[in-house]
Amino acid sequence: MSNRSGRTVVWGHLILLTVIVGVVVAYLLDARGVSLRTNNLLLVQPAAILALVLAAFILPSIFPRVEATEEVETKEEVETKVETRGDLFRIFILIAALAGLAFSLEVVGFDVATFAFMVIGLAVCGEKRWWVIILFSALFTVFLIYGYGTITPFPFPLTIL
């Protein structure tokens, strides 16, 4: 949170609202670009306008006044249990690792991607013993590939197993 000229900015909330508004505006423009006929915009256009109006109502809460900051912080703390920078860093690593898993499954194979994610995930989530990390990741990967693989209708692309 930054403090300047009597107001602060809740940056994370600002980013989230920007993403939501960005997606809504892009979707509305795309839909209008496809066709302006009722059958295309009957629900999308009113819903998008409603979303933008609601976002405008929410916007002031992202820039609370300094005197209200303590109250806002208390509210946000109740909602989010404010993390330290270190905690946030770990969360971002976990999110990045999950992205790596999702995007690389078909590229490097389910076995390699799963093992790599498990190693990073366990380490980030607080497991300190390296041998536990390696052993659990390997066993869990094998168990999942053969266990889940037998009951799902699609074959998992593999590299090693």
Binding site: G12, H13, I15, L16, V19, I20, V23, V24, A26, Y27, A31, V34, S35, R37, T38, N39, N40, L42, L43, V44, A47, L50, A51, L54, A55, F57, I58, S61, E76, E79, T80, K81, E83, D87, I91, L94, I95, L98, A99, L101, A102, F103, E106, T114, F117, M118, I120, G121, L122, V124, C125, G126, E127, F140, L144, Y148, T152, P153, F154, F156
Partner: protein
């Protein structure tokens, strides 16, 4: 309404064919295990078992598949309670109060409540089906897009009750969900919002998106927590507490009855089914409960409402399938496929000529529901041990299982990528007080709302009011909806008045 000759014939069929009973237990177990795995849907579990029924007789085959249906229906509630992961869309409302109960250390009670509500809901739905199968099927044929739209709007009213502390953020989350739910090609053939990604033509994959919004986002936020339940003494798995949950369920017969009725009626509507009935039952119960404000924080009534409705939807869906030959969803479509494999065509002619088989299927489902209670007790006891696994193991493991499940549903990276996108979005939303549940409801109902609104517009030529006045069932649904809102306002005022009077008299 009940033909006693056919009932007698059904008893004869079931008592003469011992094979029919042999498949009950394996069917339930397969359903429970598959249903409890994130990403493995009821349909997938039944499809997996379908080839095995080819060499069975007709009745044992159908009983085996319906046992999987029943087992998987409850199995999906186990991860919903323990980890907040709705394995299927019908378990979404179970997460709203089941998961908070588990986090408070009331996991045993929550599982017991879910099991008992499911069993009673299932029994109630087949009891209603036994009496009402013919009239229900008659009503279903009269339902058009306007009626479906009315049901979807009723489901959307839930957004109001999910909004939480910030009403505007709640409605924005719901509206955003609706918009995301309309991405892809609509029923009029317009393609919007796909940004050139081919798999988005069919819309945002719903189950991976739901898993991301509700479960993965929560798990990411738990990175600094050591166990799902912080208090060590509350982590114990107690059979007595599970049974306590079962007993607790019997204290709310009205909620169970309302949930079952909603489940049967909504479940009978093709294409709507259990994914809406659990939300509707939850929102109606919250609206009518004196302690409605505590819903979402671990109120057992929320679990009862959701579970009674989603399990009773099975009976409704079976009514439409048996009486009309119309599959309401994937599970009943598989049952129809099993019918076809045995050279039997479902529908009005089947029910007219084979009432004894129809009643035999219903009776076997009674037995399934009762057996589910005992098998389920053991299952939830074992599954409950998940709360004793340290989160440093549970978080990455569940994220990987969810990713595999998302892949299994879509058959491509579309599932895992959707899961990731919605996990990040959900994490941000939870962090800043946007109710992710509202976004999930919007996402589920967006396509349904738009599709039926479009069809209504096309049929009515834009004259919604004139057309609406010609549709008595739509008027009935809208009247029920308005009635339920008015009742809520009246009861809220009455409670406020009573509270005021009691404060006045005590001071």
């Amino acid at each position: 309404m009940i033909e006693l000759d056919s009932v007698y014939g059904a008893f004869t069929l079931l008592s003469s064919d011992g094979n029919a009973w042999l498949y009950l237990l394996p069917g339930l177990l397969i359903g429970l295990v598959f249903g409890a795995m994130p990403g493995i849907s009821i349909t997938m579990a039944m499809a997996f078992a379908l080839p095995a029924t080819l060499y069975m007789d007709f009745l044992p085959a159908i009983i085996f598949l319906t046992a999987i249906y029943t087992g998987a229906g409850f199995g999906g509630s186990v991860p919903a309670v323990l980890m907040g992961i709705p394995g299927t869309s019908s378990a979404v409302a179970t997460t709203f109060d089941g998961y908070p109960m588990a986090r408070k250390g009331l996991h045993s009670e929550a599982l017991g409540i879910a099991l008992a509500s499911s069993v009673i809901g299932c029994l109630a739905s087949y009891a209603m089906l036994f009496v009402l199968i013919v009239p229900i099927s008659g009503v279903v044929l009269k339902l058009g897009p306007l009626e479906m739209f009315a049901v979807a709007v009723w489901g959307m009213l839930l957004l109001g009750s999910l909004a939480g502390a910030h009403i505007s953020r709640g409605i924005l989350a719901g509206t955003f969900g609706v918009l995301l739910g309309t991405i892809g090609m609509n029923t009029a053939g317009f393609v919007r919002g796909t940004v050139g990604i081919p798999w988005l033509l069919d819309g945002v994959p719903q189950i991976p998106a739901m898993m991301g919004l509700l479960a993965a986002s929560q798990l990411i936020g738990l990175i600094n927590t050591t166990y799902l339940i912080e208090d060590e003494s509350s982590r114990k798995i107690s059979f007595a507490k599970i049974l306590g949950g079962v007993r607790q369920c019997f204290r709310y017969p009205t909620i169970i009855f309302r949930g079952s009725l909603i489940g049967v009626i909504i479940g009978a509507i093709p294409g709507v089914g259990s994914s809406i009935s659990n939300l509707l039952s939850y929102s109606e119960t919250k609206r009518n409960a004196p302690d409605g404000d505590t819903f979402g924080e671990g109120n057992p009534k929320g679990v009862i409402a959701a579970e009674a409705a989603n399990s009773s939807s099975e009976g409704g869906a079976m009514a439409t399938m048996l009486a009309l030959g119309i599959p309401g969803g994937g599970a009943t479509a598989i049952l129809l496929a099993a019918f076809a494999m045995h050279n039997i065509v479902g529908g009005p002619s089947f029910i007219a000529h084979n009432k004894d088989i129809v009643y035999a299927i219903m009776f076997s489902n009674f037995a399934q529901a009762i057996l589910l209670f005992f098998v389920g007790l053991g299952f939830v006891y074992v599954a409950g041990y998940v709360v004793r696994v340290p989160l440093r193991f549970l978080i990455p493991s569940v994220l990987v299982v969810s990713t595999f499940g998302a892949y299994a549903i879509e058959g491509s990276s579309a599932g895992p990528i959707t899961l990731w996108v919605f996990s990040v979005l959900g994490w941000g939303m939870v962090r800043y007080g946007y109710p992710v549940a509202a976004a999930v409801v919007g996402l589920l109902l967006g396509g349904l709302l738009e599709g039926n609104l479009l069809r209504t517009n096309q049929i009515s030529g834009g004259d919604f009011i004139g057309y609406g006045l010609e549709r008595p069932w739509a008027l009935v649904i809208f009247a029920l909806m308005i009635g339920s809102i008015l009742l809520q306002i009246v009861s809220k005022r009455r409670r406020a008045k009573e509270a005021f009077l009691s404060t006045g008299s005590s001071s």
